[in-house]
Symmetry: C2
Subunit: 222 residues, 2 copies
């Protein structure tokens, strides 16, 4: 009812566009960035996830604190659910891994020495794809927590891609297969409703004032 | 014979690695970057091409002059054939397009409004994939020269990807299909021999001195 009330403040085209994006959103796949040093890279991955329809991005910080680079994200953070595991927490990596496993995700990560590439099997259950630092790749702690590894097929002297390029390449392949195979990857109607409400609020200027006024009116029996 | 002579100065593992990379090299696909303003982006595309096995990259400059960002290319330029069309030429775009068409390439480019995605048909003949500026995409002049357009399937509010991410995504898909379908995409034995010679020369320190000495010795009947 509150969502309905807010919808009156958003143009029809915009609402329709939001519903279209919602219909293509997924939590079946999620991206996890661990200790990525370069905020530019993190921001580029965030933008790719938004464009590919991936709703959740998990950012595990170590010494470095991630700062959104708005020129690179192009506003993508506004629509996504960013899960941040701060360096000041006791063990942010452990916290993130436990959260994801409890939520039913299978964790996979790219390592150049893996003997397989991503395939259909990686989409049998909800999957979190973990990307490590630009320099060292995945730490031992992360590797041990993974349920599987894969390599990106490369044929040159370079045996790696830029991190944001690697992430987009893998996530593009996986989302493409996911959509083509028609698995149950869409948001539930409840998740959609929650997200729609969040997007409406972010879209409407001073929506908090409106929400508070609406609730106050309801409480006053208006 | 000269190549054979130089090979004596390169370790066996290194020579074998070069042959392996040569066997996966292609000129069937090539990337064309037009007026890309950000040298970081151009460098990232160069690195991706090298890693994916694409030998030729065409760089069309406008006002901006491309400078190699070695931290991003990770040495990839050393192994590639870069074709540069300088801003000081009369019409670098026209020159590049004519060169590619004369060489038998079909030109395709990404535009968000295209009604199809890349598919097998894009690999029926040697193909050059053209990427435009980060801001305006492809110019009218470039669009008119294209033999086909395609869009990258996106599902979010963002209707575009970072340029280096978009390029890698498309080139990864196309090279993957190309390799899987076994079309005649490999270098000819003559092209391989030329490239091997170039790589040997770049690998051996002071190879020019050695090459000159070898030729001088031959001429002296040594």
């Amino acid at each position: 009812m509150l969502t309905e009330h807010l919808s009156g403040f958003i143009g029809e085209d915009r609402r329709r566009r939001m519903d279209e994006v919602l219909g293509n959103r997924t939590r079946y796949l999620t991206a996890v960035l661990k200790d990525v040093y370069n905020s530019h890279n993190t921001s580029a991955v965030i933008r790719s996830c938004e464009a590919l329809g991936i709703q959740d991005v998990h950012i595990i910080e170590k010494e470095n604190r991630y700062r959104v680079n708005r020129q690179v994200t192009q506003g993508a953070t506004r629509w996504l659910t960013l899960h941040r595991y701060r360096a000041r927490e006791r063990d942010p990596t452990e916290t993130a891994i436990r959260y994801l496993k409890d939520a039913g995700y299978r964790l996979i990560g790219a390592t150049p020495d893996a003997d397989r590439v991503v395939d259909d099997d990686d989409l049998a259950v909800p999957t979190a794809v973990v990307f490590g630092t630009e320099i060292d790749g995945l730490s031992d702690q992360t590797r041990e927590a993974l349920d599987g590894t894969f390599r990106i097929p490369l044929y040159g002297f370079s045996q790696s891609l830029n991190l944001s390029v690697a992430a987009a390449t893998v996530l593009r392949t996986l989302t493409g297969t996911m959509r083509a195979r028609g698995r149950d990857w869409r948001l539930s109607s409840e998740e959609s409703a929650d997200l729609r409400f969040a997007w409406y609020r972010r879209t409407i200027r001073e929506s908090d004032v409106m929400v508070r006024r609406f609730i106050a009116n309801m409480e006053a029996g208006d």
